[in-house]
Symmetry: C2
Subunit: 330 residues, 2 copies
Amino acid sequence: MTAPVQRGTIERAAVVGCGVIGAAWASRLLLNGVDVAVSDPSPDAEQILTEVLANAITAYDELGFPTDQQGSYVMAGSIAEAVADAQFVQESVPERPDLKASVHAQIEAAVGPEVIIASSTSGIRPSEMQKGMTHPERLVVGHPYNPVYLLPVVEVVGGEHTTPDVIDQAKAIYSSIGMKAIHVRVEIDAFVGDRLLEAVWREALWLVNDGVATTQEIDDIMTHGFGLRWAQMGLFETYRVAGGAGGFRHFIEQFGPTLEWPWTKLMDTPDFTPELVDKLVAQSDAQSGMHTVRELERTRDRNLVGILRVLEANEWGAGTTIAAHRAAPS
Amino acid sequence: MTAPVQRGTIERAAVVGCGVIGAAWASRLLLNGVDVAVSDPSPDAEQILTEVLANAITAYDELGFPTDQQGSYVMAGSIAEAVADAQFVQESVPERPDLKASVHAQIEAAVGPEVIIASSTSGIRPSEMQKGMTHPERLVVGHPYNPVYLLPVVEVVGGEHTTPDVIDQAKAIYSSIGMKAIHVRVEIDAFVGDRLLEAVWREALWLVNDGVATTQEIDDIMTHGFGLRWAQMGLFETYRVAGGAGGFRHFIEQFGPTLEWPWTKLMDTPDFTPELVDKLVAQSDAQSGMHTVRELERTRDRNLVGILRVLEANEWGAGTTIAAHRAAPS
């Protein structure tokens, strides 16, 4: 079911919305030889792009990917100008349905009906965004994980009007820039990854709120425990191993019943009271305030590059996606 | 607050219950020079121990830790025999409160009141286990993550009778065998890590149950996305970076409101109907059935060793715990 890995599927793309996510999309596209026209009304957009691109170039150098055949970018004066010549549009504007609708209308007014519009939204259903579109069949969600230039996964989700051909094309385009595109076949709020993330986030907020653990302690438990697991085997494969030779059925027999225990508090959402926000901010400052965000980004990228190289050498997990892209014909 | 890193805090330990977790505890102790007496009524216990220990020796070799100064182990004929000479007891029997109570009573009958009894339980509160104990003050939870010989985290949780000195001693012992011991100061069901894991597990079950994604797809989204993040930065530090220069307060302002969206289904527990179990088993077989559990364990360990070495070289996260242990005086 994996789309064939092939470079050069597209030569020109538009990135609409150039915050951290949009800039990282642009960086991935550029470093895979795609020319990118960028649209963003913010005066900071180009600076964000150049900073993120610099991080991405460093990371690709360390990963051993060529960085001397970059596409070129242009900051366009409008959405219409950015998308006019694009073969593919990646939209990453803020998560407001009204704003998305307005931006998609401006994009549609300036491109042919065959051009795919992919939204980076992490929460808005594609069918919702398709309402009012002239050619809703070419809209998909292409939901990435930051840093987009390094983390290979993208969730591809169609709405009720999206055609299967558009899903296939979007997957092929993402594959051509080194990503593992996973088609989420049922349209649900928050798709797959962010549902899992939200579950952890809610529970972690309760733990901080109730004074059970600090942000530092929770992060330490993750980075010294199950985070290391999940970099290389997911939830289900890890539990299969825990089940031993009896496989997954044995695991469920052994551990399934504990699900009945009323452990988590996820039934409701903690209120962001001023007290909780202050607590989170103070704990986060104590944990990470000695580093700038740029320093943390560089540390993160250096760690991710090292981990990806280990996984590539071991021919496992995300390393297989990196290896396939390294070997891909152009 | 970190206990001083020092090898050789204990010379003799007892491991009561030698399934996968107990065997991995024994392996970590042995490879840190501690003699271990093992008690388990199963005829398979010694085989499990030797298999897990072989994996651990391979991993420590690859990690560059000495494996030629191992402690020695003995399979004891009874709990009393196993614990008679122990300075520390780690209990890892199945998660049944009645069984834990019986085992703890047998341990108490055979050791002095100063010997710490640490339970590997992932779900039973220490105060619950302290009921009926003769010296409840020396019981703590020491909850590890498998593979215990590689993943450095252990959650230390006291019950209402546990003395602060016992918490400190337990932390020092765990630290002396290369672990990062995190004291969970408020006693709650499932402590910290398993609350987060349970939240993900429930939501993932819903996703499979509702046909949104397969076990393979969910695992791919994890191992190609946020799993890579969490191997090196936890939830809170990752989100701090996402908030940019505005820090954690900005992140909450930007993303906190989406918590109000009714995304997750975690309010209730999916029933393990025969249909759901069959689906999980079939998908897991399709995903991982081409590998034996032993092969998966070796792959996992090779990946973890590689990741830990990257983090140690980068002086970050779990790598700092490995580095501190490598440099620890004995």
